[in-house]
Symmetry: C2
Subunit: 338 residues, 2 copies
């Protein structure tokens, strides 16, 4: 194996078929003006030599690589990893290869470096999964010299992006709790640097305010079950009174529920909890978790669609597509006991 024997080139095929390299190129690229007989002869030669065009040479000549780069942050988390995988599938279906780059953080420097690397790679487009917001992302967008689309970045209309309306999701969750009769509602949020975490937090706060309910305490975690556990213990330690808990994602909810139970609270009778994400495991938690479902499949599709549109026409409008999450009711929420 692994003998790097020289691959057949256009010229080899041309020679074997007794035509010019250009003619071979034509049949490979399905150019109409090639006679049927020549085409057949060439195809035969192609098969015989097991010829396949060299994508690198193609890229150099055309100045486009038929590949798109994806820069992801936190792609080991459920949400981002789902996005990557859906985007890859959609892109492959369109004939594009995916060059994948994870970044350890979202500093401008790191981002700039990755973008540069990908640029040198001549990617035709870029997908940015940059769930940590902040003005610097705006600067960043000025760094990008190819069509791109951002995911999960609630930046406003001027940047092409597709987002899930996190705030709406948080509203759904909080309102559900209110509707069930809860008045003492605490929160465990994700890291506030994450746009999504902040928006969920804002949604929680706004809903409470609209209902004229004083918000309970809010503590934060880092998305992991372990941090959810710690956060809940902190809440418990500071003797917060609460009958319900809105948690920034399902993993943290899992940790929190464990801490609550260890503290002798029964679920959902003593405290109701609602999570966020609807990971596949959530339905099997103890109790099965009421949560907010995000549609990553559609998200991926929309992102690819938008990106392709911009690649076809860089002047295409840079609009933002917004997806709305959905409340999934299970058994982790009940009416508070009187």
């Amino acid at each position: 194996m692994a003998e790097r024997q020289r691959r057949a080139t256009l010229h080899d095929v041309a020679q074997l078929a007794g035509v010019s390299h250009q003619t071979v190129s034509r049949v490979v690229n399905r150019h109409p003006s090639v006679s049927a007989t020549t085409r057949l002869r060439v195809m035969e030669a192609i098969r015989e030599l097991d010829y396949a065009p060299n994508r690198v040479a193609q890229s150099l000549a055309t100045q486009r690589s038929k590949s798109v780069g994806i820069i992801g942050y936190g792609t080991t988390h459920y949400g981002p990893s789902q996005m990557v995988s859906h985007i890859e599938a959609d892109l492959k279906a369109k004939g594009y290869a995916l060059v994948y780059a994870a970044v350890p953080d979202l500093s401008v420097d790191v981002l700039r470096e990755q973008i540069a690397t990908l640029r040198d790679q001549l990617v035709d487009g870029l997908v940015l999964i940059t769930p940590v917001g902040g003005g610097h992302l705006l600067e960043t967008s000025g760094l990008i010299h190819v069509p791109f689309v951002m995911i999960d970045a609630m930046l406003g209309e001027h940047v092409p992006s597709v987002v899930i309306h996190q705030r709406h999701g948080a509203r759904l969750a909080t309102q559900h709790l209110i509707d069930m009769g809860h008045r003492e509602i605490c929160e465990i949020s994700g890291p506030m640097e994450w746009t999504g975490a902040r928006q969920r937090h804002d949604g929680w706060l706004a809903t409470l305010r609209d209902a004229a309910i004083a918000p309970g305490a809010s503590v934060d975690g880092d998305w992991t079950a372990a941090s959810g556990y710690e956060a809940a213990r902190r809440l418990l330690a500071q003797r917060e009174r609460f009958t319900a808990l809105f948690v920034g994602n399902d993993q943290m909810a899992l940790g929190a529920m464990r801490a609550l139970r260890e503290a002798g609270r029964s679920l959902p009778d003593d405290v109701s909890v609602v999570g966020f994400d609807d990971i596949p495991e959530a339905a099997y938690f103890e109790p099965p978790l009421t949560t907010i479902r995000q549609d990553f499949t559609t998200l991926g599709q929309q992102a690819v669609e938008l990106l392709l549109a911009r690649m076809a026409d860089p002047e295409a409008p840079a609009h933002q597509r917004v997806l709305y999450p959905q409340l999934i009711e299970r058994q982790s929420v009940s009416r508070p006991e009187r």
Copy 2:
């Protein structure tokens, strides 16, 4: 944004610096024989023009792309997704880009196609995450014309690969159950097409046999919590007697535990369960799950190391590296009640 202005080339830099393109190439590639003054002048020009070498042109000229492909199956699952992310990080540290391709299944055709695509992309090496075994993988390896390494494929010594000794993990789990006094031990396995699932199954079986214990029933799932739930219900429905359950991964264990609890079994008193993988959430399950930890970080490192070695010297020995998993005791296992 997105104005595809022409990027500076070697010639542009050469012209500005008043040297030949070759000299510029030399300073870019850190060739020693360039005088300090020239080097400085060139570097200045590079900065001024914001020059960065065109990787595609480099690739064409050198016949190597400084990128490696990864073909992954089931990369939305915890294990595989961890591998991808660790491998990406290690590879990036070595200056390689990662072209990521997921495959919907592991048929030879699909594999062949992906390999061909990646080959046309001129990747320098290939990582295959192909956790579904079978002879066809052997054929496959004949299809690959670049250095490669397989992960999670227990194929034997003749293919370069790095694997976790699943069978050993299963032994650890089963022996632990036996040591705790269990004699009626059932299993929920993963899909038997997966090498890992089969090996875990074999390990379970072998350990029982060695201990002269008749194996309990074994049913299979598809790695998801939902399937674990269903599997446990099947076990319950066929009125199996068991005091312990060995489950092929943690997600299924979660589902199974839910089913068990719904059926009125208390955990771990009525039935002990041990999982596999040690996902970060396992410690927060109800009860916290005793499981088998796999070290994906090391796995990724070893894979990259091995691949790089083979890329440097395709004739390097094609050995297999084996990693051993570890038992993590938590509270889902107890002594059976008499």
